[in-house]
Assembly symmetry: C2
Homo-oligomer: 198 residues x 2
DNA sequence: CAGGGAGGTTAGCGCTCGTTAACCTGTGGG
DNA sequence: CCCACAGGTTAACGAGCGCTAACCTCCCTG
């Protein structure tokens, strides 16, 4: 697994807190002083680690998109040959759910603050997102060959909406436990695809 | 139907444009001068119609929540007795889809800028939202009696995520037409519920 | 032991933005 | 005819915020 046990670097602390604050109150609703305070330093000290507030957002969004895509590609490669498209789709769903449950702030940012990026960064993020979507679309059409491509794409976007609803599912208190929530989302996603593909 | 054929009042113009701009660039990302320009007047002229920028957002969010709840109650009352719970659920889904397709900017605002409201307004909106959710939960549990209440509530929130994904479905260009999109969303929503309720 | 860079600090500049003040203009009723 | 008011205008103020400047202090290395 190569999980990292190192202490998180200052940069990572900052990114994590910035993600949380941006998700809670929006990019423009958070000041640099607040981000600094969240990691124990104050205001302009952040500029030793980032070129500016925009750079933090950019790194967050590019990171999310890249991580999602990378994970999906890995799952696709792992399952290649050894299992059918249905298992691959299940694996994609599982990966997306893990992400939605573990990194709720990032999921929130993902489709909320994209317009605040510089043109080049926004294009990069959009490209990564599109690749991710197209990868899903291919797998979905293997499982449900009757689906036309535009329909499959719309269905994929809608299922993302479903899976990304985790920030609205109670403030992580009233949930029936992480495993149960993951299973619920998984069944609903499969059911949604099934309803349009069969 | 009592559809209104009057010309929209200035207040309504402002609210509509403000909703669009807030949805596009966020509450803090839009200046009052921009909102004014969008309706042909400039900057501070808005203060003849609203107490402030916050008041516009408040009126928008309270309006959305109230309208959604009102529509749902009406549909519930109309179908009472004359049809089974399945038809009521279909009617609720249909109403929510109409709203998501016709007022995309408002749907976007609905779960994005709630924290910017004054405490009293935010509590009001939250209360309206909760009533709306509980109304759905009751109907869902009538259709699928096997569902425990917390599970049903999570499922409802997730379906809202699915239905509210319309802003991500192409910029209203590549869709296969409004009717087809509505039908797609409807089938997926029903499939998602079916997958956890049966 | 010198010194230099990494990583902080506080002070403050400059710009943006919400809001207010003061003023103007058409229009409809007494 | 007048005048009050609805609905605009521009000027300007004040607060907040991103960012820079200038400085300080460890710690690590030659």
């Amino acid at each position: 697994m190569a999980t990292r046990t190192d202490a998180p670097t200052r940069r990572e602390q900052i990114l994590k807190e910035a993600a949380r604050l941006f998700a809670e109150r929006g990019f423009h609703g958070v000041g640099v002083d607040e981000i600094g305070a969240a990691v124990g330093i104050s205001g302009p000290g952040l500029y030793r680690h980032f070129a500016g507030k925009d750079a933090m957002l950019a790194e967050l969004l590019v990171g999310i998109s890249g991580q999602l895509l990378k994970g999906a590609k890995r799952r696709l490669a792992e399952a290649d040959g050894s299992s059918g498209p249905t298992e691959v789709l299940d694996s994609l769903i599982e990966g997306h759910i893990d992400f939605a449950l573990d990194d709720r702030p990032l999921i929130t940012l993902h489709d909320r603050e994209l317009d605040r990026l510089r043109d080049s960064d926004r294009k990069l993020v959009r490209q990564l997102q599109r690749q991710y979507v197209e990868l899903w679309v291919e797998v979905v059409r293997q499982v449900y060959p009757a689906l036309a491509e535009p329909t499959a794409r719309s269905a994929v976007h809608s299922v993302f909406g479903l899976l990304n609803s985790t920030p609205h599912l109670g403030r992580s208190g009233s949930l029936p436990g992480r495993g149960a929530t993951a299973a619920l989302l998984h069944r609903m996603a499969r059911g949604a695809f099934e309803a349009v593909g069969a």
